[in-house]
Amino acid sequence: MTDETIRDVLTRRGLSRRAFLQVCASVTAALALSPAEAADMTKRLETAERPTVIYLSYQECTGCLESLTRSFSPGIASLIFNDISLAYNDTLQAAAGQAAETAKDTAMKNAWGKYVLVVDGSVPLAQNGAYCAVAGRSAVSDLKRAAGGAAAVVAVGTCAAFGGLPYAAPNPTGAVPVSEIVRDRPVINISGCPPIAEVITGVILYYTTFGVPALDHLHRPMNFYGNTIHDRCYRRPFYDRGMFAKTFDDEGARQGWCLFELGCKGPITHNACPTTKWNGGTSYPIESGHPCLGCSEPGFWDKGGFYKALSTPTGHWSRTGVVSGAVAAGVAAGLSTAAVARARQGRAQKKAASADSEPKNPTS
């Protein structure tokens, strides 16, 4: 650890306390903190040590990092994250090969037990982890080693958090989320494909000042994942009024009606998109006319289709097969139970006939 505070870093870069307050305003706004919490956070950031962040990537597409660094306008928080805290990231750093490995080892040694380990991508377990290796070490052993010195692990992106695309059926690499490997450290999942940049940095700063934030049952920070897209969607009133776009080019779509029928997974997707938005607050998918894919939820690849309405069956079986099979089986069952009943009736008839040939009725 550097013993430097975030404030110190800003000062060193010639920025005033006003700049610091602007940072705080940005962070607290992103975290949707109450005024009292925001004041508290500002106070704590004033004295908080600058965090050391080590960023490791496994089975991933680098989209998460793209989100973080190449967003439309890099936010203040990402500035802090990228320029101030990041001790190691093999994609961003200039060093390569042995030099990079040495840099990583040094960074880990210097902050052993204190650094925040950010992991991006899922970890393959099939073939002894052979599907992903860094510097001759499998992802799984690399992760275990790095996690050993981490104060907390932040799984960035749906791959790291829940397995993501590599995890989708049939999961050929045996991919698992970070939480399957790291069990003795707090794991904070920041899901999304990719996650929102402000969310990643916000969570790390929150962790620096307050520790592990309140998490939902999927270990996602409640601050960002506490509500569904649907809860805060500006198109929600159309949903409530039963006004839905039927196709991507109909009048409803032009009028900005609800995209539920086009497969929007907003109702079951927890993320901050409607409030934090993307690309420096420009918009989010639904605002651009596309249904939410549900990318921050586990298994979103395998939910029967991005454009299939949530209330419809995922339908892995052939509908014709199910229906015709059920009809055939039902008719067969009906005919056979009726045949059994008729046979019983036939026997009863015979019995009654033979009884009739004897004395006619019980009295005689």
């Binding site: 009024r241 039963g242 298994g299 939910k303 069956p313 995922t314 059920a326 069952a333 009906g334 009726a338």
Partner: protein, 220 residues
């Protein structure tokens, strides 16, 4: 099992099984009834074959005859609130219409969520009242069996879970939605095997009596 997997489970395999059971059961029960011996009536009809009366009675018996209204109409109305509310919620709610479109290709415009919630709430209230009636009326207590209470429960659960999902009650929305769909699946699967089959048998049994009375020229 978490909410997401309950939801996937309910929308996936369970739905397919429930659909198969629904169709299988309806076919089984109807074929099983109609493949029994058919009674033959050689009597000379007074008024045609009675087909018209059969069809008429399917409709007309939906409302009690004047002479019985004083004694049964109040509970009929409660029952109607339940049934109509249920129908509005099932047929008017767009997510449900999506399901119907997915299954049959048919679709129609939906109603606002508030209307659906109101209808479903009324329906649930009426259903509770009907249960209370069943539990307190000596006649109904005498008649009721497992099927009556089980079917009640299966009718009630989707309503309540649906309302919970709509209002975001019960915490985890995915879980609540998953349970709602699961409850619907179970209702589907159970439908042909219990009293809820009346939704289909009703027409046949009314029609049979309507036709029999019709050919006699008797009032229906």
């Amino acid at each position: 099992m978490n909410g997401a997997s309950v939801l996937d489970f309910a929308r996936g395999p369970v739905f397919e099984i429930a659909l198969a059971m629904l169709i299988f059961g309806i076919a089984w029960r109807l074929v099983g009834i109609f493949a029994l011996r058919r009674p033959v009536d050689y009597s000379e009809p007074r008024a045609g074959t009675g087909w018209g009366s059969g069809l008429r009675m399917i409709v007309s018996r939906s409302w009690p005859r004047r002479e019985f209204r004083e004694r049964v109409l109040h509970w009929d109305i409660v029952s109607y609130i339940f049934h109509v509310g249920y129908a509005v919620a099932i047929l008017g709610y767009v997510p449900h219409i999506m399901l119907i479109r997915n299954l049959t290709g048919l679709q129609w415009p939906g109603l606002p969520g508030g209307v659906i919630a109101f209808a479903a709430g009324l329906s649930a209230g009426a259903l509770l009242a009907l249960l209370g009636h069943r539990l307190t009326s000596p006649v109904l207590r005498r008649l009721s069996n497992f099927d009556d209470y089980f079917s009640w429960l299966l009718a009630f659960t989707p309503l309540v879970t649906g309302l919970m999902a709509y209002y975001g009650i019960g915490g985890n929305y995915q879980m609540v939605l998953g349970l709602h769909i699961l409850a619907g699946d179970i209702l589907f699967a159970w439908l042909p095997f219990g009293k809820i089959m009346h939704v289909i048998l009703l027409a046949f049994s009314r029609g049979t009596t309507g036709a029999a009375y019709g050919r006699r020229g008797a009032p229906i």
